[in-house]
């Protein structure tokens, strides 16, 4: 071997060695349980990794333990706890919703879940914020790619950050807090109305693709014998007024018509005592835990509540029903 070759190999090893060590470190910590043989405490991992990337955590988890019933949507759907649903319905559900989730992610997640197991019931939570052609957030594709390619997991920057935070938590004995506290409730409430709602509604676009993709989901559900349910979550009247402010009433109605043509719709987002009372909400978007239980009671327990139910797949529910006897 010539001196030139030896010199090259020496430098190449020097360059690559830290990356090999880093790869072994990721495999050892395995923050999202991709490989499944890491000795690191599961709770510490969940506390950090789960919050850093909901999609990654849940997709790997579901891949290991598929469930026949799934909940899809955003942070509001995350508030519907499977244990409470099990009490109401007697069935096991997997909460496959992501904080800040988009409909694009929900649809991709549905296809992922359907490719893993036979689904019996799919529940999608959404409203006009997410049924919006201008919301194209997608954290699912990158996770899907890792299923066939461990290299993508090892080099994922969220995996690297999670590994480091977990390592730091284990070394210091103090689990790092992910995310920021909301702070002043009134200020946050106002910010959600003035900024977040504007981001959603001022840029509202007709969701042509979502319409087609949801139709595809409904068709596949029909073929597979899967029940498809939509929940339009309650939001505070302050937020619903933003729909009027941005002249999106027609789009709001069109969304309901679109969804009703695809499955059963439980619509909580209309003017009623529940949506009028600020106590029922943490902020204009997010209802409290008590309301979450009420929603579960209505959807899975057959209880009465402030809901309108419609849909064309079950004949007796073709008419709009309003039950207000809370």
């Amino acid at each position: 071997m010539s001196g030139e070759v030896k010199r090259f190999i020496r430098k190449a090893v020097l360059l690559l060695l830290p990356f090999l060590v880093f790869g072994m470190f990721i495999i050892a910590v395995d923050p999202f349980n991709y490989f499944g043989f890491s000795p690191v405490n599961e709770n510490v991992k969940k506390e950090i990794s789960f919050k850093l990337n909901y999609a990654m955590w849940k997709m790997y988890e579901f891949d290991r333990h598929p469930a026949p019933n799934i909940l899809l949507g955003d942070s509001r759907m995350m508030e519907l706890h499977p244990e409470v649903i099990r009490e109401a319905s007697g069935k096991n559900y997997y909460n496959f919703a992501y904080g800040g989730g988009s409909l694009k992610e929900a649809i991709a997640t549905y296809h992922f879940a359907a490719s893993r197991t036979h689904l019996e019931h799919v529940v999608i939570g959404l409203d006009l914020n997410s049924y919006n052609g201008s919301d194209l957030k997608d954290r699912v594709s990158e996770v899907l790619g890792t299923f066939h390619n461990p290299f993508l997991y090892l080099t994922n920057n969220t995996v690297a950050i999670a590994s480091w935070k977990i390592f730091k938590s284990l070394a210091t004995g103090k689990v790092e807090r992910i995310g920021q506290p909301i702070g002043d409730r009134d200020a946050f409430w106002q910010r959600q109305l003035e900024i977040t709602a504007r981001v959603y509604f001022a840029n509202y676009r007709d969701p042509q693709d979502y319409r087609k993709q949801l139709q595809g989901v409904a068709d596949q559900c029909r073929r597979d014998g899967t029940r498809l349910t939509f929940i339009i979550f309650p939001s505070h009247k302050d937020l619903m007024e933003q729909i009027h402010k941005y002249n999106l009433e027609a789009q709001d109605e069109a969304m309901r018509r679109d969804l009703a043509s695809l499955g059963i719709v439980f619509d909580f987002a209309w003017d009623n005592p529940l949506t009028r009372d600020r106590k029922n909400f943490k902020d204009p978007y997010h209802f409290t835990d008590d309301i979450a239980k009420e929603i579960i009671g209505v959807v899975w327990g057959g209880q009465e509540g402030f809901v309108r139910i419609y849909g064309d797949t079950i004949p007796e529910l073709q008419e709009t029903v309003s039950r207000q006897g809370r």
């Binding site: 830290p18 890792t146 840029n203 676009r205 693709d209």
Partner: protein, 495 residues
């Protein structure tokens, strides 16, 4: 097999290792086999097209050299041109002209029966066709000795680093290098790898990352407005530059590991101060090909002012068609042709204006204006180039300024909600935006440094700590910020 794939990461070291282990006399055969394998990874049977081109041009070259009869020489040249361009036409342009004719006939309610030719475009066909044509033209002109070794000639046509997207090499540069005994050298290997890494950075960290946003905008332009179109065109300029120059860097770097020097294909095109300047910096191997084998044979600037202008326009018109068989490419080429002619027509006036203003044409203000003008025209033309069809292109051009004024007003008032709306509508997170911006800033800094000479030369003179910090930084960026997941093939493969 893409340069940005694991497949290539295994293929390249293996080929390098075996290449330097086998006796130098047999290396051409191994490199040829590796190149054919590289190409066959896309579509096995298309290797026959390369073999046909190789055989036709090999024998055309030999026969041309064996005769002094000009007519016979020309006949062999025509055989080469017709065969190569015939294959190119059949696989790349037939459907375009056929469908255009069908649409025209339908417009006049006339029946049209020539069927659609259901065939996949062979990867890199325009590149290797032009490369092999340059050989026969040079032999015809007597500037290149005919290659008698069929294997070496086949390697010239199919050398894998530059086979599918250039640089379009000249036989006078590449063929002699295959005869030289190349030893493995530390300098060649490390300098080559540095260029490969830099090319990968441009491809996976910048081009593929912003490519997702660009694809979103151009897939459904009717969903977007002027702000997104301007953003889309600007980002596409970076995407296509990083994608293509990234490919060229990887190709040149890979060849250098084998001790083979390929021509430079890009010289900081975004620092050009006119379109004329830009085309001397962008895809240089194609620009010079058109200059040598089309513009000059058409008469160049030797046949008067108006003929020169016509020749310039024709070169860009055909260059548009070279890029793709679609009207959007033809319009793109024509837009460049028109502005190139306008530059020629106004060159005297611009000189007078500069003299009147008493500033040199190298003055920073003059250069800045030139740069703004160049990038505006270049990006505008790219909007048409990237559009899915002519209808989309016209829609985007027609709505280019929709909502831009209001958006700028809001931004000027410090209202960032409008920007958040745009980001959300493109599915862009803050993290992705930050990565893309930082990567583009790194690219621009590197390009500014290139004004002082080769980056690698500057790097080699830097203190060891800085050098290694940069190497690690580059590898970390590629591994952790590269959009491998959204991995797309190189844009120029389709040409």
């Amino acid at each position: 097999m893409f340069f940005n794939s694991l497949h290539y990461a295994v293929f390249l070291p293996l080929v390098v290792l075996i290449y330097f282990l086998i006796p130098p006399k047999r290396r051409w055969a191994f490199l040829l086999a590796a190149s054919y394998y590289f190409y066959m990874c896309w579509k096995l049977e298309y290797i026959f097209l390369i073999v046909i081109s190789t055989l036709v041009d090999y024998f055309a070259g030999l026969h041309m050299s064996r005769t002094e009869n000009k007519k016979k020489k020309r006949t062999y040249l025509i055989i080469s041109l017709v065969s190569n361009l015939g294959i190119l036409f059949a696989f790349k342009y037939f459907n375009f002209f056929n469908e255009s004719a069908r649409a025209a006939f339908a417009h006049f309610n006339v029946a049209y029966h020539i069927p659609y030719f259901n065939v996949l475009l062979p990867v890199g066909i325009s590149f290797y066709t032009f490369q092999t044509l340059s050989y026969t033209i040079e032999v015809y002109r007597g500037k290149q000795e005919p290659e008698t070794h069929l294997g070496i000639f086949a390697l010239y046509v199919s050398f894998f680093p530059q086979l599918v997207a250039g640089p379009i090499e000249r036989s006078t540069n590449l063929l002699p290098q295959f005869y030289k005994k190349q030893d493995f050298t530390y300098e060649n290997a490390t300098n080559g790898l540095k260029l490969v890494m830099w090319g990968l950075f441009k491809k996976v960290v910048i081009a593929d990352r912003i490519g997702v946003l660009v694809a979103t905008i151009f897939a459904q332009p009717h969903q977007f407005s002027g702000v997104e179109f301007i953003l889309g065109a600007t980002l596409f300029a970076y995407q296509v530059y990083c994608d293509f120059s990234g490919y060229s860097d990887i190709a040149i770097g890979t060849a250098q590991i084998f001790g083979i020097k390929l021509m430079t294909n890009f010289k900081r095109p975004f620092h050009a101060v006119s379109l004329t300047d830009l085309w001397q910096r962008w895809h240089i191997s194609l620009s010079t090909w058109f200059r040598d084998y089309l513009y000059i044979p058409l008469g160049g600037n030797r046949k008067g002012k108006w003929r020169t202008h016509l020749n310039v326009f024709l070169v860009f018109f055909i260059s548009g068609l070279w890029h793709g068989a679609a009207w959007t490419y033809v319009i793109w080429g024509s837009v460049h042709g028109v502005f190139m002619v306008l530059e020629l027509l106004t060159s005297e006036l611009r000189g007078k204006t500069a003299r009147f203003l008493r500033i040199s044409q190298d003055h920073i203000l003059w250069r800045t204006l030139g740069l703004l003008y160049t990038m505006t025209i270049f990006n505008f033309a790219l909007l048409i180039f990237r559009a899915q069809n002519v209808r989309d292109a016209f829609y985007m051009v027609g709505h280019l300024f929709d909502g831009v004024g209001a958006f700028l007003m809001k931004m000027a008032q410090g209202d960032l909600v409008a920007l958040r709306g745009v980001m959300r509508s493109l599915g862009l997170s803050q993290k992705e935006l930050t990565i893309a911006i930082v990567a583009i800033v790194v690219l621009e800094i590197a390009q500014l440094m290139q004004r002082r000479g080769s980056l690698r030369a500057q790097l080699n003179q830097a203190p060891v700590m800085i050098r290694w910090a940069l190497y690690y930084g580059l590898v970390i960026s590629i591994l952790f910020f590269g959009a491998f997941n959204m991995s797309q093939q190189f844009i120029y493969f389709q040409f």
